[in-house]
Symmetry: C2
Amino acid sequence: DEYNKPEVITEVPGPETKKLLKETDAIQNTRAVSLFCDFEKSKINYLVDADGNKLLDCFQQISSLPLGYNHPAILERSIQSAAIMANRPALGSFPSKDFPRLIKNSLLRASPSGLDQVVTMACGSCANENAYKSLFFWYMRNQRGEELPVMGDEAFISCMKNQPPGSPELSILSFDGGFHGRTLGALSTTHSKPIHKLDVPAFDWPTAPFPKLKYPLEEHERENAEEEARCLAVVEDLIEQWKDTRPVAGMVIEPIQAEGGDNHASDDFFRKLRNIATKNKIGFICDEVQTGMAITGRMWAHDYWGLETPPDIVTFAKKMLSGGYYFSDEFRWKDGYRVYNTWMGEPIKLVLLEKVLDVVKEQDLVFQAENTGHYVVNGLRQLEKMFPELLSAIRGRGMFIAADITEAGKRETFVKKLLQKGVLLGVCGDHSIRLRPSLFFTPAHADILLDKVEETAREM
Amino acid sequence: DEYNKPEVITEVPGPETKKLLKETDAIQNTRAVSLFCDFEKSKINYLVDADGNKLLDCFQQISSLPLGYNHPAILERSIQSAAIMANRPALGSFPSKDFPRLIKNSLLRASPSGLDQVVTMACGSCANENAYKSLFFWYMRNQRGEELPVMGDEAFISCMKNQPPGSPELSILSFDGGFHGRTLGALSTTHSKPIHKLDVPAFDWPTAPFPKLKYPLEEHERENAEEEARCLAVVEDLIEQWKDTRPVAGMVIEPIQAEGGDNHASDDFFRKLRNIATKNKIGFICDEVQTGMAITGRMWAHDYWGLETPPDIVTFAKKMLSGGYYFSDEFRWKDGYRVYNTWMGEPIKLVLLEKVLDVVKEQDLVFQAENTGHYVVNGLRQLEKMFPELLSAIRGRGMFIAADITEAGKRETFVKKLLQKGVLLGVCGDHSIRLRPSLFFTPAHADILLDKVEETAREM
Ligand code: FES
């Protein structure tokens, strides 16, 4: 197998990539483009670029390929099921007769404990947007004791003009550093970077501080607990303060804040957050778009928390291939068309997800993510000791791992040098790097990664 | 060919569909489900349901299949290209090396006149949401003369808290009866039915009246022109009135308001609307999610208008298979990550679109839509004369055709009876029926449709 180490044969990005960039720039802004890919030549953990460079891909299309490139089982399933693509249904109104079976064999096999309802969406943003809507419906149903106002109620008229009471002044509480998508509702709960939000009108909704913890968590328990207690108190205050203006209908959190910088909090923090929601009768949405599907060493990252009451809603996308959300019976809407759109996701994604779940189970990839994660974190901590001016704050759960680049302004150079050595990783927050590899990332891949990081560190 | 007439063998919905409904209801609300489909047995204009009923499908998955079910060229292309699905890219950062060629051979072949930029999205809602964002970026750039504020500006800080000046109080002007999607930003410009909006917080943005015209348009020109003049005056007033609170950054309109009831306006109305936007230096978004791709007898419905200045942005989805929007150079954002998300649409959709465009061109389907449209409108007008208590306000452009069911409360019965005779059509607004067939709908299909409508009318 020649796919056992990276091979870089040109400067990265190379001449072919630069040519393609120029072509593409004629039709849209290309500043976010890193590489052009040769998908045919890519294989599991190795991405081959347009210039023929073979890169160990620890980012995997922004964490969205669970089994890497061209996994034979996925490839085979894609080819077998291609006809499904020729007839994309309006899934909310005209599903295929296979749909109930398909949902059972895919999404329902991965249901988070306590949540037996699920709806598909086409991406993580509409998953969150519709989760918020489900929460507003639930909140208003609780207020009035009925799914809908009585016939002739002014709410039916005022909502058509975006005015209360039909368009109620309710809010979703979110956290500094959180990321939940870029459509206007989701973006109002996103607080990752100014460039994501600048110049876009936003709902005036409350934002709570997310704990800024010291890593490793186990060495700073006392001060971290204080910081978490501070944040929890603010959450309670905000719920109280907003009661008379825009009541908080629910809160949304990521188990690990990803885009915002891979910020962790303790299981205890999340348990307490859940209890605050329960106590105040507001909804609790767990956004597992990036943390879901095995990568953290659990199927869902919130499995670690040991909750008494499950989240009300768990949203997903990326590695799940389909967007969507799980929810409890209480959050079912009672009228059709309240959560609805033309496509409502796409069945082919579930057909592929079914196979992904087979492979994850057969090969025990949840355990492998946990296991390899320990190996990588240990390796990075060794390097942190050797190069403290370069690496710090190593943190992770399973293979969902990040580190800070200690010296300000050095991150881009580090990532670039590493890429030139054939290792592709992602960045997040202002000064962090992150690993989001496929579920087939093993200690053997980790050794290559750690070697290249060490080599790079020596050069910096 | 046995696919030349509908064949109904059970009550519709039949026993198998009812069984599947019950199964599905265990995992989500199913009130919006009309039928379960047997896609394998379906063919172009004929949808076969789970009970084996063969239906003439004039709705085509909510207007989203351009060439109908299992078109051989699309089927073949799907199978050939299946591997693409196994490697879904993060298209904004890691596109395939084929991407520039693919965009050229698909979307750019269908570019509306004057718009040479295009970006892909995964659905119509995010197409509109991101079009709004592009418009806000453009508006703010014009305000300050630079793409971004100077370093250290308070906008960078305030936007992280959803507060102005970073999250500016700007608005999008939309129209009564308009539909632009169901995510919170898009939904704030949607005014179709209360059930789409009720209980969801909305931006306080201006809504203008959309002309309520008399049909046929050509027989009511004078009074329709007055009604349009009234609406245009309100638009100008609203732009003026909102200047000091939430300035209007742009407006969004559908060439024919679809969900809201297939409401038409004259080409002159749209030309004047465009001029109002130009004069006030606000953006003009034409939402062609439902009207795009040949069905109106033009590639884009706004081709009929004879605009001097093209729209600033044209959004698409549905029959285009991919979501996205075309835009002029002036609306290009200058920084990466301003219009961005993980998937940014999906290349397989463009691979299929390329083939759709080949077939549309080879078989002159734009002309066929126009031609068959005349035939159907004439046929329906005959029936309107015979059954004025049932049918009225026949209106259409190409095969984008609707009629009102004259007697209040009779629509659901009419649609149900027609379905039982093997003809499936859609509804819109409070009392309209709509046709959204594939581009292969010919006068032969129209004859079946007209016969069945006549039969049904006699029974009512
Ligand atoms: S908003 Fe999710 S696919 Fe468009």
